[in-house]
Symmetry: C2
Subunit: 441 residues, 2 copies
Amino acid sequence: MPVLDVMVIGAGFAGLSAARALVDAGKDVAVVEARDRVGGRTLNVEVPGGIVEAGGQWVGPGQDRVLGLIAELGLSTYPTHDSGLHLAELGGRTTRYSGRIPKLNPVVLADIAQAQLRLDRAARRVPLEAPWAAPGAATLDAQTFATWLGRHVRTRSGRAFFQLVTEAVWCADPAELSALWAQFYIHSGGGLDSLINTTGGAQQDRVVGGTQGAAQALAAGLGDRVRLGTPVTELEWTAERVRAGDLEARRAIIALPPPAVARIGFSPALPADRAQLLQRMPMGWTIKVNVGYDEPFWRTEGMSGQANSDRRALGTVFDGGPPDGAPAVLVGFLEARHAQAAARMAPKERRDLVLADLTAYFGPRAAEPAFYFEQNWAEEEYTRGCYGAFATPATLTRFGPALRAPVGPLHWAGTETATRWAGYIDGAIESGRRAAEEVLR
Amino acid sequence: MPVLDVMVIGAGFAGLSAARALVDAGKDVAVVEARDRVGGRTLNVEVPGGIVEAGGQWVGPGQDRVLGLIAELGLSTYPTHDSGLHLAELGGRTTRYSGRIPKLNPVVLADIAQAQLRLDRAARRVPLEAPWAAPGAATLDAQTFATWLGRHVRTRSGRAFFQLVTEAVWCADPAELSALWAQFYIHSGGGLDSLINTTGGAQQDRVVGGTQGAAQALAAGLGDRVRLGTPVTELEWTAERVRAGDLEARRAIIALPPPAVARIGFSPALPADRAQLLQRMPMGWTIKVNVGYDEPFWRTEGMSGQANSDRRALGTVFDGGPPDGAPAVLVGFLEARHAQAAARMAPKERRDLVLADLTAYFGPRAAEPAFYFEQNWAEEEYTRGCYGAFATPATLTRFGPALRAPVGPLHWAGTETATRWAGYIDGAIESGRRAAEEVLR
């Protein structure tokens, strides 16, 4: 085998974007992918009448890289269904509302607004290239996001709101995240509203044919440079060479989530800084459920299909169908503790739980689905959780500088290494292109 | 190859103790060990005039399992050198003192005493078998130990004291640990004094010939059942069988630190609960340095060889020699952030740093060592840190029940799974015996 210029490990958006940039620059590249498919944490699933998406499925304003890529590939987007009344259950109160703000007790609304203002203001002060250099970084990173929220949110319903938001955005408990990581991530995605909103936010648009289609199109352009079904479990490296299986290259770009990097046996071992960083970036956990119906009955009943609850397992629901409602889909998330509890159930019991919650939100027609598909990303051997990894307390300030620093010929990509939209497809693309630039320099 | 009863992975004290218990019960056992030696995080190193210990080196009262094992194996112990004056640098003040309590400002002493009282009292309320069931567990686990200390320690020097203690006990920053894990660990080791004291505590005694000798003796008793140089990177399992390399067994006991378990490719993948737990138990980090001299000059100068400092990299030092002082050794620890900073230095620069700190403690004769040996456990491919793993916030309450729960034919050992002396050799032995009992039942 000839020696390649670059071996890219992982054919998600990060790895494919890196490979594309390198090929455009005239480099010899191979992309090795453990699974028998490309797309990483995006996955189209065929269902009667179309597809649903078992992984990352939204794009939104400010995500210039993924929107640019979609345009470049000749793909198009459509708006997430966002009209009609939304449902919110918070602090024992159920409301139906339009627009962005649920009808809540004014004291609670003021509490939430003030905490969000503080959070966004603090987040803007976190430098995206170096969160560990934020003002007060040591103090912020020494506390959990739960501790930060406990100090800045005064009402019970306000706390329930931020618990729900944390579970929806990170698929983790506020007690797990570093407060500094939470603020970095919020800044990285353009503010809390930008992360949680549908129209105007990260859930605004969908890709026609599913987001995985963009990865498949990228891979198609790379041709037989992409090798599926090729897990890298051992990797040897020197200053000039990287070897994995029968491949040899001058450089490697490792485009995997942190716990998947930790699965590789590096020889020689990674420097302690990088090895210990990998021990301190766990993945969130969600079970994503797509439930199909004969028609989008909630739309005709004036509902948007969006629901949130601080007391139900299926805490977040969206209309998961295209504008014409074919297929008609409600897409829901069992997040963090709810994923964990639901994972212990028998499949039938879990399905009953999901349908009961959907019925509570949208009435008895929700109990009679045409199809039901669930995806537990934490049980995927090559992902181990989702949406992404987060940093536990003191990780950014102690180990953050090791996140992107190359180790000899090894370069690091993956959405967790991004500065903008870390944790999103857009961040994955940024990270792949940045790693490619490092290699080209 | 015949099908074994049990395959034990890892030949540290946990794995060897499990194998010994199983062999005693008449089972067919193999122990597979990645390294070309047994002993895990214990390691004897030959130096002029004897050995030093690069890993776990102390035993103390209350560690009944390891003390019993030592006696059983016909080994003996000697007391750690603990007479003479100790040195402490805290809050800008240097003191020489005998006994346990440094000469500090009475306000600081009262502050430390009160915080320690609260800590020990809270720790005693944490059930060792189920720390997640402690009173107030959710609140404790939602905060870092740094947050807990910030609320209970009032003086600057008091905070410096607990920072130093945390670095010495866990090789981590208080900001990294869950407050619940810290309290569990303190209870597990019989209280804070028990963890930090020399005489009367976990540093009281040494094993003649080094602690690794006990592992070697255990391994000798197991004969050719122990297979060195056999890393397990892939493990297939069903309800009835476990296969790794050319070995097949009815059960497996996996006796590795959590990040080493995460290195194994399980097929089928581990349940999400267990996989995510492994992502949330990072290792501490210390570089342990043994510095030898022609004679134990500090002893003749009336010093114990014990020193602690909140402003030096080598924050903790002990006399590392036997009673007769041959070899004469000072053993020091670059802990947590200090290990990290020192790891970035060139070897000569790091050695100069260590010798400068020893000279500051013990005078100019410390600058002229007869030998110098350092061990960076975080760069050991099959350990990845030390002394042990800890739980980040929310890990015990969310994932704790998965720590010891068997997964089909897979049983979990390793000191991190112990209830008494978790993180110590004693805990490793407990964990191995407990896993063996599970298999035998």
